[in-house]
Amino acid sequence: MNPYFDCFRTFFRIGLFTIGGGYAMIPLIEADVVERKHWVKKEEFLDLVAIAQSAPGVFAVNLSIFIGQRLLGTRGSVVCALGTILPSFLIILVIALFFSQFQHIAWVQSVFKGIRPAVVALIAVPVFKMARTARITRTTIWIPICCALLIALFGLSPIYVILAAGAGGYFYGRFIEPTDE
């Protein structure tokens, strides 16, 4: 089989069957790319996951770009990214086309009135989960709270918060808490 088509098909399937996005995709990608296709080794896959997570942008797309690059170079990375993106692009496009016609119907509005508070809760839950993985303690809890207040109350762009936090981490590590090296 054409290797480009094989890559595209694999990532298209991954994009099509992972509901919930992002991290829900990891096990599926691993099953296909590591166990079934043997495209990358297990340890290498974990490295790629770590890099894709720390890089900005859409995690699953980053991961597919890295794997495509590893397999078939630049063209491979484009093909793999397309495969990951295309299913959600097409599905959302169809929904967007029709949702504008549905959304004024009374019962659809009632359904979404019930859904909206639940969605806000589903966004609030990962705050607590991420606080745990980011090892937020009583001495560092002011950082996320200040960031959130600056964005939500004072309308500061999240981009400045990201830049300031990265710089802050660098200066803290460099001048206040020197590492052993």
């Binding site: 992972t18 509901i19 996005g21 992002g22 490295d47 720390s54 900005p56 942008g57 859409v58 995690f59 699953a60 797309v61 980053n62 770009i65 690059q69 484009v78 990214a81 990951t84 993106i85 299913p87 599905i91 959302i92 496009l93 967007a96 086309l97 949702f99 509005q109 009632s110 979404f112 019930g114 859904i115 909206r116 508070p117 639940a118 969605v119 966004i123 609030a124 705050v127 991420m130 606080a131 980011a134 560092t140 950082i143 996320p144 709270i145 200040c146 960031c147 959130a148 939500a152 309308g155 762009s157 999240p158 918060v161 990201i162 936090a165 990265g166 710089a167 660098y170 460099r174 590492t179």
Partner: protein
Amino acid sequence: MTLFSLLVQLFITFFKIGMFGFGGGYAMLSMIQADVVTRYGWLTSGQFTDIVAISQMTPGPIGINSATYVGYTSMVTAGYGHAWGVVGSFTATLAVVLPSFLLMWLLSKFLLRHKNHPIVEQVFTGLRPAVVGLLMAAAFMLLTRENFATPSQPWQFYISCFLFGVAFVGSYCYRINPIALIVACGAAGWLLF
């Protein structure tokens, strides 16, 4: 706004989101919201919440889903019709993934080799708590009248708060699947509102 400047703004906005969107889909939400809802008013906070709901029930990453949806909706809301809506969704989706390609070169050459370099570690030490803050901001900013009603409409307000509590506890304590929670709360909304 002219057609061309709207497309350029869509591109720039989502390019920035792809470029600075550290910490995955949910953290990107606060960036999307800051520009799309607060700054440009392309969507209301209610519409934005609906997109998140739809993103969670459909396949694919939330960043792609919301770029596609916002691109389409902003063009149609501005009065340009369905065909331009498709162009808008293509523009926004392309813009959000483009930085990933550009960064790939840097990352595969730099970060892969210097992953354990102290400077990289220091920067990420600062980023991690900030990303939690971004997520917190996204949740704060969605506590709006459109999503919860106001106490002057007690029936809808208290039921909304109750559904919020149910979804939070269900997801956090019992790890109930988000799709199941969304479907259940949608059914409750259909029956109660």
